[in-house]
């Protein structure tokens, strides 16, 4: 019997878990799979957006990381100090060394609130919040509950961020939340973004910008936040524009895991791991691959992207071990529900080359979910997804009707759209 391959996966989140489970299924005894993470708390991140509004509970969002891994996969709780790709070795902070034949970096992103002047200063978690982790979202929930009126500012400091639509969803849900409490007319909602529109992609940006206007959320664009004065309640840009707030909901800067920055040649300036866009093989070494938010790919940092990357990654790890050429099959596919409040949601579906377009999903004729259009069905889809996440996606099963590559069927091109417009 051949010697089993040593596969080390850094990160036990969405990408690390689904990759470990799929590889285990494919390779069986042919591989020793080790997953390393610094804790045993797997957070269902799509629910973070609901937490501040009391629509999700912190306790039900977090499960054991080890509990999501199939039997036979080794799980280690440890901090990674650095990776020596030249030696095929992962150095842990306790001095231990893990050797590998194949390394998969699945360590996600690290929030860096301390990188923005004043963010973690006076007012942090009192009037300045982020909902991008459980602790922040929980603190924000208490503050929203106590809020009786004033200026609520939602700000993205800079891209890239996880789930780029989440700050918009927050605005939509906040509009609903305050309306529901009967104080919407006491609250001024403002969305402040470094982008030149509501979203990066033209057709979706137009739709989402329209929704903001419809819900009376003021949009401030091309605002590069440089400083937060929590005591005075002022958000200041690098070019000295000011936006006053009573409550600031900010999305801090994102970077890669700290060990990536400490690993020679592995990451870029922000700590993300550059790789081939279609094979997911890192530029650092042929036996190092990357999945999910940790990657420096020109697509969204989102769970759906990670899921779609999974098939390409698993195939390519198998091919690499067998000495075969890699498959260039990942197309940048992303698929996101956007909660718009009042029990409705939008759905967008796009990839490296095709921006989000209107239509129906998954297929033009039978697809039940409307694209780029508010519907209750999409909201139900988002809620149902939690079950799918734990029971289908993480264990590495196929999701029926959802293909890894983006499909054009069911989508309307902008030209078609103009013709059919009234």
């Amino acid at each position: 019997m051949p010697v089993p391959s040593n596969i080390v996966i850094l990160g036990g989140g969405t990408g690390g878990t689904l990759t470990a489970n799929r590889l285990h299924k494919q390779l069986g005894d042919g591989a020793h799979i080790t997953v390393v993470d610094q804790d045993d708390c797997h957070v269902y991140q799509p629910a973070l957006i609901f937490l501040p509004f009391g629509l999700a509970e912190p306790e039900t969002m977090v499960r054991s990381r080890a509990g999501q891994l199939h039997d036979g996969i080794h799980f280690v709780i440890a901090q990674v100090d650095h990776v020596e790709t030249a030696e095929n070795a992962v150095h842990l902070t306790d001095g231990a060394v893990l050797d590998y034949d194949v390394l998969i970096v699945a360590s996600g992103v690290r929030l860096q609130p301390e990188e923005t002047e004043g963010m973690t200063g006076p007012g942090w978690n009192e009037r300045v919040f982020t909902f991008y982790d459980v602790e922040g979202a929980t603190a924000l929930r208490a503050a929203l509950k106590a809020f009786t009126g004033g200026r609520v500012v939602v700000n993205v400091v800079d891209m890239p961020i996880k789930c780029p639509v989440a700050p918009l969803e927050f605005c939509f849900l906040a509009d609903w939340y305050f309306a529901d409490r009967g104080i919407r007319d006491q609250v001024e909602l403002t969305f402040v973004t470094p982008l030149d529109g509501a979203f990066t992609k033209p057709v979706a940006s137009e739709t989402l910008g329209g929704l903001l206007a419809e819900k009376h959320v003021e949009l401030i664009t091309e605002f590069a936040a440089g400083e937060i004065d929590g005591a005075a309640g002022v958000l200041r840009s690098w070019d000295e524009r000011e936006v006053p707030f009573d409550l600031l909901v900010t999305v801090p800067l994102h970077g890669g895991a700290a060990f990536v920055e400490r690993s020679p040649g592995l990451g870029d300036d922000l700590g993300f791991v550059p790789s081939d866009h279609r094979t997911l093989q890192s530029r650092a070494a042929p036996n190092v691959f990357v999945i999910g938010d940790a990657a420096a790919l020109p697509t969204s940092k989102a769970g759906s992207v990670t899921h779609f990357e999974g098939s390409t990654l698993v195939t390519n790890v198998e091919r690499f071990l067998a000495g075969e050429p890699l498959e260039a099959s990942f197309d940048g596919h992303a698929n996101c529900f956007i909660e718009t409040g009042f029990s409705k949601a939008l759905l967008i579906d796009f990839n490296y080359d095709t921006e989000p377009l209107p239509g129906r999903y998954p297929d033009g004729h039978v697809g039940p979910l409307p694209l780029l259009k508010e519907s209750r069905l999409n909201h139900m889809g988002k809620l149902m997804f939690e079950w799918v996440y734990w029971h289908v996606l993480l264990p590495g099963r196929e999701i029926p009707g959802i293909s890894d590559q983006m499909q054009m069927a069911g989508k309307h091109q902008p030209a078609e759209r103009e013709e059919s417009a009234p």
Binding site: M159, T200, E222, A224, W238, D268, D269, L270
Partner: protein, 105 residues
């Protein structure tokens, strides 16, 4: 795409005035684009940023963001805004003759 005469040369630019082909760029072309965009004279600090932008674009195929500039160009973000008012990454890309930085996804 249109063709403009910049610093005496025929240069292809897009609708927003970014060069289509970075190979058509010269330092004189950069200086003239800078003047047209409100920077009368490019100092050594300007050039440090412009050269960094070009080198990154030509080696990696993508223009760096403001954040990357602040971390890796040797010029802090505050100063970038003083050198290239409004949008340092965009303006430095335009002066450096490389395409408009793609907003992240």
């Amino acid at each position: 795409m249109t063709t403009q005469t910049i610093a005496g040369q025929a240069i292809d630019v897009d609708a927003e005035g970014f060069l289509v082909d970075p190979e058509q760029w010269t330092r004189e072309v950069g200086a003239e684009i800078a003047r047209e965009n409100g920077i009368p004279e490019l100092t050594d600090r300007h050039w440090q940023v412009v050269d960094f932008m070009r080198e990154r674009y030509l080696t990696e195929g993508a223009a760096p963001s403001i954040r990357t500039l602040g971390k890796a160009s040797g010029v802090p973000v505050k100063e970038l805004y003083a050198l290239f008012p409004k949008g340092p990454a965009k303006l430095a890309a335009k002066v450096g003759g490389i395409p408009k930085p793609r907003g992240c996804i």
